[in-house]
């Protein structure tokens, strides 16, 4: 005569919960404690390098959303393209990173910063010098291992709280 389901399952469950009461909660309180993001983090904004860009337009062709707009003019004297306007509509951007992979001259970087919200929708469209790398807009190491090496190591939950149950 086998006895089952008389309350032992509930008792086991109660022991699990009470043990969790005495463990460290897996919470970090933002904004006082910030964790480090991945070195390849694909942030909100795009970073462009005016020196390396040649205006070939591969990034604009690759973008699935069509968020990049480039206007170039020819400079016949020096036999090259001059980039007159390079505009990114970050509202359309889905941060897929295909443009960075596509660029043959390594002129694009993904942004690393995340607290870059704007108050007006018009500010989401960024062009020319707004896209250069600066202190508020660091570059992330997505597809650029030389930058990834210099960024801080990512905080991993499996390394911070790793007690066996």
């Amino acid at each position: 005569m086998k006895f089952e389901r008389f309350g032992l399952g509930i008792a086991k469950g109660l022991t699990v919960t009470i043990r969790n009461l005495f463990r460290h909660p897996t919470v970090s309180q933002y904004p006082e404690q910030r964790l480090n993001r991945s070195r390849r983090s694909r942030g909100n904004e795009l970073i462009w390098s005016r020196e390396k860009c040649t205006g070939c337009g591969t990034c604009a062709k690759t973008c699935p959303q069509g968020a990049i707009e480039i206007i170039t003019s020819t400079n016949l004297a020096e036999n090259k393209y001059e980039v007159e306007k390079y505009q990114v509509d970050t509202g359309y951007c889905i941060q897929c990173g295909l443009c960075i992979e596509a660029c043959p001259y390594d002129a694009l970087y993904m942004g690393y910063a995340i607290e870059r919200a704007k108050y007006r929708r018009g500010d989401l469209v960024q062009s020319d010098d707004m896209l250069l790398e600066s202190a508020e807009r660091p570059a992330s190491g997505y597809y650029h291992p030389e930058i990834a090496r210099k960024l801080p190591r990512q905080t991993l939950l499996v390394e911070r709280i790793n007690e066996k149950r």
């Binding site: 389901r5 399952g9 897996t26 690759t62 897929c96 596509a102 597809y143 990512q154 991993l156 149950r165």
Partner: protein, 374 residues
């Protein structure tokens, strides 16, 4: 369709109640018009399409590589699997061979994604049962560990865009494998914790055992796949039946249920997590070195033809059907939506049960509206 009211001393009439698109327990914007007689569900009529974004039509305007970020947004909970299915379809169409290291990385990532998906599925099923977020939060803790590793590899936490045609986009960073090793050591004890919390819980057994039974014939006739099919006792898994990628090299079991009720679906998902851990262990041991992406142009133009590739996604069989006409965009792309096809059996499972059971049965099928509506 005739609805008979039961013979009672008090004459009652069935009424129609709308579980609106905005509801805390439907997993997304899903609307059901239920015909109730008191508390008993007589019939349901699903109304969906609230999340339709026209992804299949958008495929015709994007290049083959440019469509990969859009496949992320189908089943947004397990987006690596969607990427994988699509890339397999294009590779079949264009006849591209994937390098060995990329195959192993794909298997590791796909199995980790399966664990992460089942954690959410089981967590929200228990939340619908009424356990006030406790198992849900415990499972999210474990999912957090997996998502951290995905963030390390691809840069994002939900919509990864990691797989490419011919391999994966970037190699694993150096700290990935030690961290994955730590996770594999810890994970069995966490799964043990869930079992201790819930497996024998009498209230869960009373709520979920014998509730929402799906028979094998109904399941096979409706085209159900995934854990829902395996819970009815039918041992069918695409990783064994039609091995894609390199799954024929790994040794794992396929858990099946007994009756096809909600409890069996819950148990099948927990057992599948353990089996995925086995596959990851084997894959890490044999991981070769080499390139991670085949030499494939960014704007790929497959030859004229059509191809269908399916994988065992965490929710079931996810398939992509592609037709190409020698241009940079697909001529037609059709997605076999797992969640929608699994949902067609809901009506059979639910009739005669009460409203509270409707919520539980619906939660145990585990759908994502992104896949239902595309």
């Amino acid at each position: 369709m005739a609805i008979e009211t039961r013979e009672m001393a008090l004459k009652t009439e069935p009424f129609v109640l709308n579980f609106g698109p905005v509801h805390p327990s439907t997993h997304g914007v899903y609307r059901m018009r239920t015909t109730l007689d008191g508390e008993v569900v007589l019939d349901i009529e699903p109304v969906f399409g609230y999340l339709h974004r026209g992804i299949e039509k958008l495929a015709e305007q994007r290049t083959f590589t440019g469509f990969i970020p859009l496949t992320d947004r189908l089943d947004y909970i397990s987006s690596m699997s969607n990427n994988l299915a699509y890339c397999l379809a294009v590779e079949k169409l264009a006849g591209i061979a994937v390098p060995e290291r990329a195959e192993y990385i794909r298997v590791i990532i796909a199995e980790m994604q399966r664990i992460a998906n089942h954690l959410i599925a089981v967590g929200s099923f228990l939340n619908d049962c009424g356990a006030y977020f406790t198992p849900f939060l415990y499972m999210f803790r474990e999912r957090e560990r997996i998502v951290d590793l995905f963030e390390m590899v691809s840069g994002q936490r939900l919509l990864y865009n990691y797989m490419r045609i011919g391999g994966v986009s970037q190699d694993l960073p150096d700290e990935f494998l030690p961290a994955l090793r730590k996770l594999l050591d810890l994970m069995p004890s966490y799964i043990g914790e869930y079992e201790r919390l819930l497996k024998d819980n009498e209230i869960l057994q009373a709520r979920a055992r014998g509730v929402g039974i799906l028979t094998q014939e109904t399941a096979v006739n409706c085209g159900i796949s995934g854990p829902v099919l395996r819970s009815t006792g039918y041992r069918w898994d695409w990783r064994r039946a039609d091995p894609y990628s390199i799954y024929d090299r790994f040794d794992f079991d396929i858990p099946v249920g007994v009756q096809g009720d909600c409890y069996d679906r819950f148990r099948v998902r927990i057992e599948e997590m353990t089996q995925s851990l086995r596959i990851i262990e084997q894959a890490i041991k044999d991981l070769p070195s080499g390139p991670v992406q085949a030499d494939v142009p960014h704007l790929i133009r497959p030859p004229v033809g059509e191809a269908y590739a399916h994988i065992e996604a965490p929710k079931g069989e996810l398939g992509f059907y592609l037709v190409s006409d020698d241009s940079v965009a697909p001529y037609r792309c059709h997605v076999r939506p797992t969640s929608l096809i699994n949902l067609t059996a809901l009506r059979e499972m639910v009739r005669g049960w009460k409203v509270a059971d409707l919520i539980i049965i619906f939660g145990s099928i585990d759908i994502t509206l992104g896949e239902v509506d595309r």
